[in-house]
């Protein structure tokens, strides 16, 4: 049932940007990737998504090699939101969310698709914006639309069985405090319902409050993994971020 990296390395220009990382994420909880800029968090997440093939090691979903799972099936089992969305065409918000239903085309009824789209829009508090042109939205609103799209993608349990996964790269980077908390509460609720959630987060407070597992990245390596309260001690934070003095989280 787990999503796993097994001794994964990724090389760019002769340098290991992810170096021998082994990590297991289990459904039912939130795993947060934490670390300085360039520590390899995004790259490791891309390997988990299946968008990047590791140069060494294996990425596995329920003990199946992710590379070997057909694209459509994989897309019905996990959804992902990248850091920088590129959409430059004036789609309506509900149309963007509807794109999340692409892997289900021809497999479910239009009513199911509509239910998923509507549910995702409501979950992200976008009902008021549903008919707005995506390009006229603010950065935070766009980010919520893209997360809603990912929710719509895995709204129902996959026909292939197993857990649903959400893989989010800095999902709170453009959100205000209220929406950050709303998102984390939602992710927590989904995790309690059995979804697997993995996200890159920079806000240590959010990790401490909401994550079940913190994966600490440093220099392309996984320095340690554990419960947030154990990982985010003043000394460990100073070490991970190369600070001069211990840093206490309130």
């Amino acid at each position: 049932m787990s999503l796993r990296l097994d001794a994964v390395s990724v090389f760019r220009a002769g340098r290991a940007i992810v170096n021998d990382v082994s990590l297991e994420c289990v459904p039912g909880g939130i795993t947060a990737f934490c670390g300085a800029n360039g520590a390899g968090k995004t790259t490791a997440l891309k390997v988990l998504v299946g968008a990047l093939k590791p140069d060494k090691g294996r990425a596995l979903l329920s003990n199946q090699l992710i590379d070997e799972i057909p694209g459509g099936e994989l897309a019905r089992r996990r959804a992902a939101v990248p850091q920088h969305p590129l959409l430059a065409f004036p789609f309506r918000v509900h149309e963007v969310v509807e794109m999340g239903r692409t892997p289900h085309f021809g497999r479910v009824t239009p009513a199911d698709d509509a239910e998923a789209v509507l549910g995702a829009i409501q979950s992200m508090g976008l009902s008021e914006l549903a008919d707005r042109d995506y390009l006229t939205l603010s950065g935070g609103e766009r980010q919520r639309v893209m997360i809603a799209r990912a929710l719509a993608q895995v709204w129902f349990s996959p026909e292939e069985g197993g857990a649903r996964w959400l893989l989010l790269d800095e999902p709170t980077s453009a959100l205000d405090l209220k929406h950050q908390l709303a998102l984390m509460t939602l992710l927590k609720k989904l995790a309690n319902e059995g979804w697997g959630v993995v996200c890159v987060l920079h806000d240590l407070q959010l990790i401490k409050r909401h994550a079940d597992q913190a994966a600490m990245f440093k220099g392309g390596q996984l320095a340690s993994v554990g419960a947030p309260q154990d990982e985010l001690t003043a000394e460990r934070v100073a070490d991970i971020f190369d600070l001069d003095a211990p840093y206490d989280l309130i």
Binding site: G71, F91, H94, V96, A114
Partner: protein
């Protein structure tokens, strides 16, 4: 619940209405294209001739009239429809492929790449390509143009992308370079050409539907229809591609395959169109934009809408080309450029304003 569904249905209904209107416009213009000309033909005569051709009646209109209709006007109108549809869809597909609404086959050199290959075949002809010519027969010219167009698509894509992201300025400038290179090539071949070839070549660079005969039209139309049908199947994955390649992969889209198909099919559509009627510029830019304004950017409507509106626009432009300076005829490319270039300016100004507004 009903809100989002209603929104969705409202847009869908509107888009379908747009498609039907475009189709009606194309049919009306096609009929006009057949009946209007130096020899005026009453629509009722057209109906009689068609019915006679189907073998339903024995009585027919004069031989001359039916000859003009069946061998001159109908092939021309069929060609106009196919060329317009093909360039319209190719423009839409190319804009999706480059994830940018300024991509257009004639702007970024795809049309002239095809024209260069076609002109090379005409001028160098038997001497260079004898065996291929014999093998492919009437398909040789359109397939050569396809090869020329495809080379340009691939070069522009290689030059203007970094990590799957398209640098728009580079794409347009690479198009300028590709156009310049192709035009200089055509210039050199013009220099080599003899007098008869020369007259053909002039028409080539300006674009025309003149001289459409069934034997020239049919092979190219077959290739264009193949390209259009292929591109229409790419609507959903192309929507996902607009989100960015990473997102498209996460949605289960085989991005490389979609891109490969889009490149091949656009080149086929543009190449085949260019092979029979030269460079018809700006159709691929203007048409998808107009359709998007009416239906929104969903490729499920933009692609078929661009086919229908493209056909209507080229039919209309051809009517203008034929009627503006009767009894002579303007090159079609001149008409489409005169309509399309100001439109391009307008787009640039509009984009600049948006940039300025942040």
């Amino acid at each position: 619940m009903s809100d989002a569904v209603a929104l969705h249905q409202g847009r869908e209904r509107r888009a379908k209405l747009v498609l039907i209107s475009c189709a009606c416009a194309a049919v009306a213009l096609a009929i006009l294209g057949v009946v209007i000309g130096p020899l005026q033909i009453a629509p009722i005569d057209l109906a009689k001739i068609l019915i006679h051709q189907l073998g339903l009646t024995s009585a027919s209109v004069s031989e001359v009239k039916s000859g003009v209709i069946l061998n001159l006007r109908i092939p021309r109108v069929v060609l106009a429809c196919a060329v317009g549809a093909s360039l319209g869809v190719a423009g839409a597909a190319m804009q999706g492929f480059f994830r940018n609404p300024l991509a257009d086959p004639s702007l970024i050199g795809v049309s002239f790449g095809g024209a260069l290959a076609a002109v090379a075949v005409i001028v160098l002809g038997g001497a260079f390509f004898g065996s291929a010519n014999a093998l492919l027969g009437p398909f040789f010219l359109p397939i050569s143009a396809f090869a020329g167009s495809l080379s340009v698509v691939l070069i522009i894509y290689r030059v203007s992308t970094i990590d799957g992201r398209v640098i728009v300025a580079t794409m347009l400038l690479a198009g300028v370079a590709a156009n310049a290179l192709a035009i200089s090539g055509i210039g050199y071949l013009t220099f080599l050409a003899d007098d008869t070839q020369l007259r053909d070549l002039t028409f080539w660079t300006l674009g025309t539907l003149g001289g459409a005969t069934w034997s020239r039209v049919l092979p190219a139309v077959a290739l264009m229809l193949t390209a259009i049908a292929g591109m229409l199947t790419l609507a959903r994955p192309m929507n996902c591609l607009l989100l960015g390649e990473g997102d498209a992969v996460a949605l289960g889209v085989d991005v490389e395959r979609v891109k490969r198909r889009a490149a091949l099919l656009t080149a086929l559509g543009v190449g085949a169109a260019t092979a029979v009627c030269g460079v018809i510029s700006f159709v691929g830019l203007v048409v998808p934009h107009l359709v998007r304004l009416m239906t929104g950017p969903d490729h499920r409507y933009v692609l078929p809408g661009s086919a229908l509106l493209g056909a209507a626009l080229v039919l209309a432009a051809d009517l203008i080309a034929r009627l503006a300076v009767t009894p002579a005829e303007l090159p079609l490319g001149v008409v489409t450029a005169a309509l399309g270039a100001p439109f391009f300016f307008w787009l640039l100004v509009k984009d600049k304003r948006r940039e300025a507004l942040g």
